[in-house]
């Protein structure tokens, strides 16, 4: 464990967690507003400027950040101050830690920690996100926030189960839970011409996974914990940077989901038919990293557009969907995959 290794790892952490994830998350706040504006026939953010440069409203995340930092940090009366302060951090940290095992490019240089328990690690750490939402709502001393945090806890626990089971098919086909190896496995070709991407071999799992992970991230149509027209959300009492942390964590989680879906179902850094082993180096490697980032951005866009199209489920409908439809379907998917694999 020498110094260069430590420094390299630190550099990777900074580049991946703070430069890639946080900046993409911040840009997504702009993206969501701009996209919703396009969807809704509006202009959207276009005013914030630095020296007259508005850049399509891209200065808005900076303005938002400045605003969040300078606003009053309000703690409601009767709140549990300790947990009230802890909750936004608990919400923000897990999605960032998850990036430790996501391979951004071929080889061990493009991943912070190439664990062979990769996907399980993501679930373990990602599951911690529940605490932020639940404790945030509970500690605010507000009935609406309490309802929101109850909804959040119930919903996130329910969907975590089927989210994990959806991926079992992928594990069985590629024979590994390490993300790097799954990506390598997706470089193979089916019948000599079709890239063996996860979405090709496990299309049902992809749809179920996206559904479950959007529910896990509490975004429309599963945004009941926020449910701004009913209970106003678990983060109702938060203001200033604490609220911004909740807000940003949601967007970083969008990036996490997109990165996971890209890695597991869209071949990660694979460019079809080009250098499946990732040994070429040079410009091809640059292209592969760019391909990964491109896939992530595309999947982020998919999540945003769903958010602005669909209405919200009701609490019992969310539970019924999770337990009565998604869970049996993912179990069926596992059985079907096993049968097909056994026959081949």
């Amino acid at each position: 464990m020498d110094l260069t290794f430590l420094l390299m790892t630190l550099l990777k952490i900074v580049l991946i967690c703070f430069v890639f994830a946080m900046i993409l998350g911040a840009i997504l706040t702009w993206g969501e507003r701009k996209l919703s504006a396009v969807v809704q026939d509006r202009i959207g953010p276009n005013r914030a400027s630095i020296l007259g440069v508005t850049a399509l409203g891209l200065m808005h995340p900076i303005a938002d950040m400045l605003k969040a930092f300078t606003k009053e940090d309000f703690v409601p009366a009767g709140a549990n101050r300790f947990l009230f302060a802890m909750a936004p951090m608990l919400a923000m940290v897990p999605p960032l830690v998850v990036f430790a095992v996501v391979p951004f490019g071929p080889g061990p240089d493009f991943v912070i920690a190439p664990l062979d328990t990769g996907v399980l690690f993501i679930f373990a750490i990602g599951g911690m996100g529940i605490y932020g939402a639940t404790l945030g709502g509970w500690s605010s001393n507000n009935s609406f926030a309490l309802l929101g945090s109850l909804r959040a806890a119930a919903q996130m626990i329910s969907y975590e189960v089927s989210m994990g089971l959806n991926l079992v098919g992928i594990f069985m086909i590629f024979g590994t839970v390490s993300l790097s190896n799954i990506v390598l496995g997706q470089g193979q070709l089916l019948w000599g011409w079709l890239p063996m991407w996860g979405i090709v071999v496990q299309p049902v799992a992809f749809i179920l996974f996206m559904t479950a992970s959007m529910a896990e991230n509490k975004r429309a149509p599963f945004d009941l914990p926020e449910g701004e027209s009913e209970i106003l959300g678990y983060n109702l009492e938060y203001s200033s940077m604490r609220f911004a942390l909740f807000f940003l964590s949601e967007f970083v989680e969008i990036v996490v989901i997109a990165a996971m879906a890209a890695t597991l179902f869209f071949g990660g850094w694979q460019i079809p038919w080009v250098d499946p082993q990732g040994t070429a180096g040079g410009w091809i490697t640059v292209g592969q990293v760019a391909a990964f980032v491109g896939k992530v951005v595309f999947l982020c866009w998919v999540q945003l557009i769903i958010r602005w199209t669909l209405p919200r489920f009701r609490y019992d409908q969310v539970m019924a969907l999770g337990w009565k439809y998604l869970l049996p379907l993912s179990l069926l998917n596992i059985v079907a995959t096993a049968v097909v694999l056994a026959m081949l």
Binding site: S36, G227, E228, S229, L310
Partner: protein, 382 residues
């Protein structure tokens, strides 16, 4: 659910209950209304409706100003349907005085009323979708409503509180350019309705959230005095425009839409939502006919400068407003000021039935029910 729910009494936390104070500032009360809920986690055990936050004493104000001067106040009764209250008050005073309204003015009133009806229904169906979490359809609706606002602004100078009608006629005539604009809007509006339906009305999640939720039986609808679209959605075939005709409505051809329970039961949230969409299309038909058949002529009847009806005379009018049967009663005491003005609106009754329907409902359904009843806060109190 065998716990007895007594609204206004049931305000303490009983075993396992949580009191939730919804309003007066809550995004889904659409104005300042308050509901106190006794919740069993997500399920409502009891609801106490509380209003009076927007009482401005409009009817009392009317007693101290001249007959003509009350017209702008009628705008404030119902901010989404100012035209109907204008119309109702003008008609009541015309009946009191026995003034004849010229036919062109009557047709203009129909055009203005129906445009306003579309604008109001857009807000209602938009807020149903918005309260169910779909923000986009609402803003698409707002875009169309904006066009109506532009048309009416060009027509009478105001976008919300129109103050368009006068005792004995209307204030401004329709210019030929505006006529073309209205027809163009109507063509675009039918396309919008198609698009809106594809976006949200036939969305599976939306149907699941609305169908079979908040069902009002015809007996309850009549018993609680619901009016307008809420009443018709429950399967009661009643429309003032057809059953107590006024103006030139008997000469125009339109259908009265009645709830049929197309996705769930008759009188559920989806029926009320769908009925308003159908009514908007009927309004489009009405406006087209009215513009086509509109005769030339004056827009104001012969009204005395100083309105001074004889003492004790009284009159009433009924107008089919966006929220239903709008009843206006006026009485004179022989001076230039009215003795009594009363306006009967629908939102008060619509709000009262929420207390009956809410127990056993989930809070998310309450929001849908509330939006589908199209309750306008200032209209409950006046």
């Amino acid at each position: 659910m065998d716990a007895i729910c007594e609204p206004n009494v049931h305000l303490v936390e009983e075993d396992g209950e949580m009191i939730l104070n919804m309003g007066p500032h809550h995004p889904s009360t659409h104005g300042v209304l308050r509901m106190i809920l006794s919740m069993d986690s997500e399920v409502i055990r009891c609801l106490s409706a509380d209003l009076g936050y927007l009482h401005r004493g409009i009817e009392k104000i009317g007693e101290s100003i001249p007959w003509q001067g009350f017209m702008p106040y009628t705008d404030r009764v119902d901010y989404l349907g100012a035209m109907f209250v204008n119309h109702g008050y003008a008609m009541a005073v015309e009946r009191l005085l026995g003034v004849e309204v010229p036919p062109r003015a009557e047709y203009l009133r129909v055009v203005a009323d129906e445009l306003n009806r579309i604008a109001s229904h857009i807000i209602c169906i938009g807020s149903v979708t918005m309260d169910l979490g779909a923000y986009t359809p609402f803003l698409h609706g707002i875009r169309e409503r904006e066009k109506i606002n532009d048309i009416i602004e060009e027509w009478c100078g105001a976008r919300l509180t129109y103050n368009y009608m006068r005792i004995g006629g209307v204030s401004f005539d329709l210019t030929p350019g505006l006529k073309i604009k209205i027809l163009e809007f109507l063509d675009g509006f039918e396309v919008f309705v198609q698009e809106f339906n594809n976006l949200i009305s036939f969305n599976e999640i939306f149907i699941k959230r609305c169908a079979g939720v908040g069902t009002i039986t015809p007996e309850d609808a009549v018993g609680y005095g619901l009016i307008g679209p809420n009443l018709r959605a429950s399967g009661v075939d009643f429309d003032v425009r057809r059953d107590h005709p006024y103006g030139v409505y008997p000469e125009l051809d339109f259908d009265v839409c009645v709830g049929r329970g197309i996705k769930g039961e008759v009188g559920d949230v989806y029926d009320r939502f769908w009925l308003r969409i159908e009514e908007m299309l009927q309004s489009v038909r009405l406006i087209r006919q009215a513009i086509e058949r509109m005769p030339m002529g004056p827009i104001m009847g012969k009204v005395p400068k100083k309105i001074k009806p004889e003492k004790g005379a009284s009159a009433h009018s009924r107008v089919e407003g966006a929220r239903g049967d709008l009843f206006t009663y006026v009485m004179s005491n022989g001076t230039v000021n009215p003795h009594r003005i009363h306006i009967r609106t629908g939102s008060f009754n619509a709000f009262s039935i929420v207390e009956k329907l809410a127990p056993g409902m989930m809070i998310a359904d309450l929001v849908a029910l509330f939006a589908s009843l199209d309750i306008i806060a200032p209209e409950t109190d006046r």
